[in-house]
Symmetry: D2
Subunit: 439 residues, 4 copies
């Protein structure tokens, strides 16, 4: 029986005035926000990999964390100790969901069959923990990037035998997800990209990726899986050029292979900013394209050029993100996964709680701010008025294709008058947002 977290009492809501570090000040899961419980809006998930598999290793140094399951021992026994600690953590924290990669929960074996069997056995273990604790699976995924065989890609590998190895892992990870009642299945193309065009046939590799994803979608339908298939865009890391750069790139890829009705995106805040966009830009663009699926809610560092995967800690920024998620109608079967890790110097068991409590509280407070922005209505009204011209009969005629270029041109020539621009009122609108953030 794991006692790694047993000195920490379950985390409870104590309100904004609380002075207790191991308590929620804003996350009050049953509070009704815009007609739904806070927990149902936020659908928080803890990720297995960062909190239970990462050792604190970085490119310049070895692991710093001394968890019991990182000590020596038989691999499957360590996997069971880790699983017990993980569910103990989820329960004490009170998140409704978790997420995992196949290799997070079950060690790579010495043969494909052994890996397959490791996973199958661990799915039983996870299932029992889910049953016991009530914690559910937001999504499963397969790790197709850590093993050296995938160094040149999984589905985009120059070698079709490695493509097939990837197919095995994904089939098994989808089966695991289905058995555990997972609500989505995610593909992050960790090595689906390239280092140099000198050894890469982009056209060939994109076709491979399109084929692989089509196979995944076909399998989903054959098995009757009702969850959503999600691609997670990310630029630049680990391959210099990642194929799934951002949401707009993924949309183009999906349309190219006829999959835009089948697959959505899992947007990570840190990946958004790495690709040169704001987080809310990625949300709005994906929503506009009809592919907004789920969220990885972890921030990056604006001065660093890589994925730092930190917990969100800025309420005004998260309030805008949640406002746009709410305006897009929410996330459906998706949720907010903390694809975040405590800093490598945060050695203690308590630090895992501080990271998650801080992240959950920031999102909860941001949700309350977004609620006020919506209830107040001035932001939405300002937008409506700005585009009012497009709701006039002439505006609709243009937008719906009943005007040609030369008709419009000739109209302007005959009217022969300039049109004055109107203020965009950005500072006014930013102040309005702050009114709700710093009430």
């Amino acid at each position: 029986m794991s006692s790694y977290f047993s000195h920490i009492a379950p985390i409870r809501y104590q309100g904004p005035g609380s002075d207790e570090a191991l308590a929620f000040r804003h996350y009050d899961k049953d509070r009704i926000v815009l007609g739904k419980r806070m927990e149902e809006h936020l659908r928080f998930a803890v990720c297995y990999w960062h909190s239970f598999c990462w050792t604190g290793l970085d490119p310049f140094g070895s692991g710093t964390f001394e968890r019991p399951w990182f000590q020596g021992g038989a691999l499957m026994e360590l996997a069971e100790i880790k699983a017990q600690a993980a569910f103990d953590f989820f329960s004490r924290l009170g998140t409704p969901y978790y997420c995992f990669h196949d290799r997070d929960v079950a060690p790579e074996g010495s043969t494909p069959r052994e890996s397959h069997e490791h996973l199958a056995r661990m799915v039983d273990v996870l299932g029992e923990h889910q049953q016991r604790t009530g914690v559910k699976l937001l999504w499963g995924t397969a790790n197709l990037f850590s093993h050296r065989r995938f160094m040149a890609g999984a589905a985009s590998n120059p070698d079709p035998e490695i493509f097939a190895m990837a197919a095995l892992q994904v089939r098994d990870a989808m089966d695991a997800t289905m058995r555990l009642g997972g609500e989505n299945y995610v593909l992050w193309g960790g090595r689906e990209g390239y280092e140099t065009l000198l050894n890469t046939d982009v056209d060939q590799e994109l076709d491979q990726l399109g084929r692989f994803l089509s196979m995944v979608v076909d399998y989903k339908h054959r098995k009757g899986f009702k969850g959503t298939i999600l691609l997670e865009p990310k630029p630049r890391e680990p391959s210099k050029h990642q194929y799934d750069f951002d949401s707009a790139t993924v949309y183009g890829f999906l349309t190219r292979y006829g999959l835009e009705k089948e697959v959505k995106v899992n947007i990570e805040a840190n990946h958004a900013t790495l690709s040169g966009h704001s987080f809310e830009h990625e949300i709005a663009v994906a929503a506009s394209m009809g592919i907004l699926g789920s969220i990885d809610m972890n921030r990056g560092d604006p001065q660093l050029g890589w994925d730092t995967d930190q917990f969100p800690n800025n309420v005004p920024e998260m309030a805008l993100a949640l406002y746009h998620i709410l305006q897009a109608g929410g996330l459906g079967s998706g949720g907010l996964n903390f694809d975040a890790k405590v800093r490598r110097q945060s050695l203690d068991a308590e630090d895992l709680f501080h990271g998650h409590i801080g992240g959950m509280d920031v999102c909860a407070k941001a949700l309350l701010v977004a609620e006020q922005m919506i209830q107040d209505g001035r932001l939405a009204e300002a937008l409506k008025q700005r585009y009012a011209g497009w709701s006039t009969p002439e505006g609709r005629d243009i937008l719906e294709g009943r005007r040609t270029l030369e008709q419009l041109a000739d109209q302007v020539l005959s009217r022969n008058a300039d049109v004055a621009p109107r203020s965009g009122r950005q500072e006014y609108l930013e102040n309005l947002v702050n009114r709700f953030c710093a009430a």
Copy 2:
């Protein structure tokens, strides 16, 4: 009669050994490269705006160039002086093409009709200069970003009357392009983007952009224009979020509005690197999607976060770009436009020549390097061998959809053996490229 450049003799090819600054050392236009004249491969164009309209102004200071056509006078007279100087420059330099925006060649009038008439008169002037000098128009375009009326976008403007103003300009610029025998028509969405989501409806604006582009395509067909319609992607500047971020984003946009067979991209090297890609990545991706149209051949500065629009000056980098253009089958009706400006401290008439001569020589030398890379064949052969597995019957069965996920998974399980990765040989291939660059 302009005498601004008359002290400079026409630029001639003198060979690599020449010590003359105002001569070509590599650009030998009639030299046959891979079966075509160098001039036909490179199809160089000078841009009107940077070399004849930009005053040297930047965000921190006023103009530095003292051209005759920047001195006081009647606007249309200055436009004629400028046109004469421009064609004098093109002729002395020996580029076959030029490019322009409507407002580069003809001043904005005080009413729409006056602007329309200014352009019409200047098209006559340009036509005479083309006739006289033999210089041709690679593409025309409309400036929909400098005037304050377009501060919130042209086609994506919240006000449909400004959309109509843009339609007039584009109709007129397309007409001008057709009258002048232009081989393409370009749209760069200078203000088609947004500053803040607080005042922006992305979904609405994308629909407006789709509509506008459809109107342009319809007009092209109605008028029987045979040139290519090109979108020029650019991230981040001048709007914080530009809709046409990069080639992959444009491809997704085109498919969304059913235009992917109608419109190609004009890729600018500097825009490529600003969007977080290498220049050759943008070329390869556009080629793979079937939308590679034309090139703006100007470099950025790797340490600066904006478009510096400098002339290319690095042969190894340009050799890779040209290699990929050649591998993609060339540019068709496109060409290499120098969307480049001499530095603001480069005050003299000679400096305009040095910039263009340097750029042309770098491209010419790069073409010769690319020719060697192709004739040598080792790069292409290495690529072919790397993907050889996909040409086997099993590889083809997978790629062409004759295998399911579970079939591949079960095959791997029954074979039950790992697959060893093979070296990507990046350093070997990079050295091979350098063999041709620094011969």
Copy 3:
């Protein structure tokens, strides 16, 4: 009599609950914070250039603002209209200070003498406005970067005659600052940098800069000016390599020329982030080096690679900055200058108020958060405990130079035991900050 702002009533404090856009919700100037009035802590200044001289022009388009003083007319008359409007704005807004460049307030003349006289006359005008309104001058400065003569630098110019032109402007601007009771004098090296080493002698130019600054310091002392001389660091813009890259670079420069006791830095938040640092890093580093002087309080955009000069709008970020300023003992004769501009689409007179009101309220709220951080004391206590080992006798012996490398090495060998690291507790501390931000 200016009526540009006369439709806007003076801005007053109405408290957090106010629903009025043209009022302060947090800036309550007489509220006592840590023993001083809020106004005395914050010492806000409005900058003349962005709000009264910038036309909305950017590299891709012409001006968008239609202020009365941008219309045609005699230059000196327009300068007077502008000054009246500016002081009207300062008064209605209620900031205690303003800042200006010589060329902001008085137009460049056709000769050096005429420019000199323009400034002298406008100093009289400004002095009367100061007298009338009670608004004071935080600092003056000279614009040595906009005119084409300075394109290759002012003090770092290859031509000593241009160095002398700069000396004239700075002498006159210092005189103006003194006459107007300015509390500091700022030098921002707008063109003190270079584009390419090919035409630049860095060593020579640094010596020129050192000489110029020494002359400025000597002049200050000869004139008995009691204010602080400030350098404003900035990387990358407008020259590719700016000599005053960041505070640490400026410190090294000052020590090289023996000026580190004479000159401090004016840190701009946007310049800090452009140089790859956080804003509070620049504050802490300058404080550690004893050169923290004053602040330009304007934010950048984390996805853009240039100086966007936006008003601050993020309370948690500003709270950290103000916390570090307070921990460093405050700014002395410095203040918080909004070197910020409303967006180019923010056309209306009201928008100037919204920008400044938002910025002032964000800083005021941030000051209240910082006050709580200090009164609570847990942040400071955690820091003290972390470094407690350095206050032991052994710690002091090491730090004060009473131990050699080999003594420490031999001690470790004889103790022969490893030392366990302790948690850095970053997430706990970040949550503690948020406790005060989102109370």
Copy 4:
């Protein structure tokens, strides 16, 4: 006896026309360049860590390289096998130097004393290999960043006992360097920086760093070491804020602690570009400050925000770097260390050779280009003429302090004439460089 590289014949110079991949085309070590042998100019070193210790691990995946010394076994035996392979590689490649960290060559022991003894034993082994092969040590250094005890810094650690652990390692690494005839000693502050100001006292940590470096310098003098002590600047990685950000920052740090005559910098090309500078900027600035010591000759990727440590492969860029090194009088006891690694997909023994051969050839060709630039003289002459005004009597009077601010100001007023700027001729000069690059 190592046979890992025994299938590869020693690499020889074969000239530019050679078609052999495992040969030099430009590096002809005895060729005389500007009066010195090429080998004496370039002083190439191979680094131990990237080529013999790095397993191919990255943040997203485990090792990819299967070297014999990465297989299981006793640590000291593996260290000896690795050393034998390393010297076999150095010899076959023909570089005159290598560099190492203590922990590269000798494994961390279970106690401080055991680590100390491991190093002592391996120094004997390395000494024998040096003796046998003639390969020399360019510099040694200590790894104070990989072990978890250093996660919060070594000399800048909050715990003085960890400072003392660092002292032991540096004392031992300096002793090892001296015993092996090393020509310099390097300190790279891998964890000398911080993640968040919330847990960091910058002022305290800088004092600790100053103290540590003073102890190192004192020890050097007590031991009579004649080599140079070098600091290697790097921004941002692995700590978010590294104290030794760039050369200018290091210079300021050295002056603050009175060490600017004692310590120089080891400039890494990749670190230069990460800090927002060009490589040649760092060289020129360090030369101007008198602290240019040695070079790490590895490139980064302009689109990636971290240290990719790739071999140089662009002749025009390296030619500028070498030109500025030569203009600064060369590197003295320093050299060109390839702090570079083959890509993680470059699995084969041959790939290690391709990486180094390519890098050496690029530098050799670049040296030949720089030689031409110097012999031609036009670049130097253009620079001299640009600054000619500063050599006039008046120019010297200003620069040497014989003019006051007001004297210059009054002179300008009485002359009362503007000064015209002259062209910076950047494009002309860039073309001139290319004349030698693509001859």
